[in-house]
């Protein structure tokens, strides 16, 4: 019974999103004009290229964020079943978080977290 409900939930989610976007696209009145597609920059044409080399700090910061975001994603299922498993789960998760904490220290030492 469990898997059917999950499939149903995914289908309804997907259908709801598709309906909203699809109807919005189908029913809306559209009129094309050359400036509608251009980038909006306070009413002016954009100047210069946006394909420039950014400071590497942005990329590193994003990576470190992604790392710890995924870590939280793993904690959710653990938190749901934590009550049944008891003490063993707790020790495992402490070890898991500890390893990631070492990663954080490494990122800090390599100044990936220091903003420009």
């Amino acid at each position: 019974m469990g898997s059917v409900s999950i499939l149903l939930l995914m289908f309804c989610g997907f259908a709801f999103a598709a309906l909203a976007i699809g109807l919005g696209n189908k029913l809306s009145i559209k009129r094309y004009n050359p400036e509608k597609g251009e980038a909006y920059e306070c009413g002016m044409e954009t100047q210069g290229t946006t394909w420039v080399q950014f400071h590497v700090g942005y990329y590193l910061f994003a990576l470190v964020f992604l790392l710890f975001d995924v870590e939280i994603a793993f904690l959710y299922p653990w938190a749901v079943v934590f009550k049944e498993i008891g003490m063993v789960a707790f020790i495992e998760i402490v070890f898991f978080v500890l390893v990631l904490f070492l990663g954080l220290l490494y990122a800090h030492k390599k100044k990936a977290l220091s903003w420009m």
């Binding site: 029913l27 809306s28 009145i29 559209k30 009129r31 004009n33 050359p34 400036e35 509608k36 251009e38 909006y40 009413g43 002016m44």
Partner: protein, 183 residues
């Protein structure tokens, strides 16, 4: 150049409707979408001079335009349904306003607030940069006279716009395309 020598027509020719005046055959779907559109018109934060202060007063607690669903003032034209042109438009600002209007998604409306946007207002005579009336640039739905108009006048203008939306065809664009002979 003197007024009486000004033979060619008044520079602010008003847009004619492509489908004549908005006809009143409004089906039930139109009624539903018009009801939804007219009660949640999101204005673009676009104030050039003194009328912007009266628009802020209309947004403040005393006059409170959020009673009519106007409260969410969006900064980008992508999410705005309505431009309230509040303040003088000069020749250098005209292409910017035109561009902002073009970048707005389709059911879009324009309120010309203040005498400057209707005919150039106090700057009609002897000003070498003021555009005499915003309808030279973009099609206008509601004109609100006053310099600056009181917040109640702005609210009344908005109610006029809501009325106009309720009586218009929801899925027909009644504003003619005016790209080809743009100066």
């Amino acid at each position: 150049m003197d007024v009486n020598k000004n033979t060619e027509p008044f520079p602010g020719e008003i847009y004619e409707d492509e489908t004549g005046n908005t006809n009143f055959l409004v089906s039930s779907i139109d009624k539903l979408s018009n009801w939804a559109r007219s009660n949640s018109l999101w204005p673009l934060t676009f104030g050039t001079s003194c009328c912007a202060i009266e628009m802020m007063s209309a947004a403040s607690a005393k006059y409170d335009w959020s009673r009519f669903g106007f409260e969410v003032a969006r900064a980008t034209p992508r999410q705005a349904d309505l431009i309230i042109v509040a303040g003088t438009i000069t020749k250098k600002m005209a292409p910017v306003l035109k561009r902002l209007y073009n970048q707005m998604p389709e059911p879009k409306y324009v309120i010309a607030m203040g005498a400057c946007t209707i005919t150039g207002g106090p700057f009609f005579y002897n000003s070498y940069t003021v555009v005499k009336g915003v309808d030279n640039i973009i099609p206008v739905d509601v004109y609100i006279p006053g310099c600056p108009p009181r917040p109640e006048a702005l609210l009344e203008g908005m109610m006029k716009l809501q009325e106009k939306i309720r009586h218009s065809r929801a899925y027909v664009i009644d504003k003619p395309k005016k790209e080809e002979n743009d100066d």
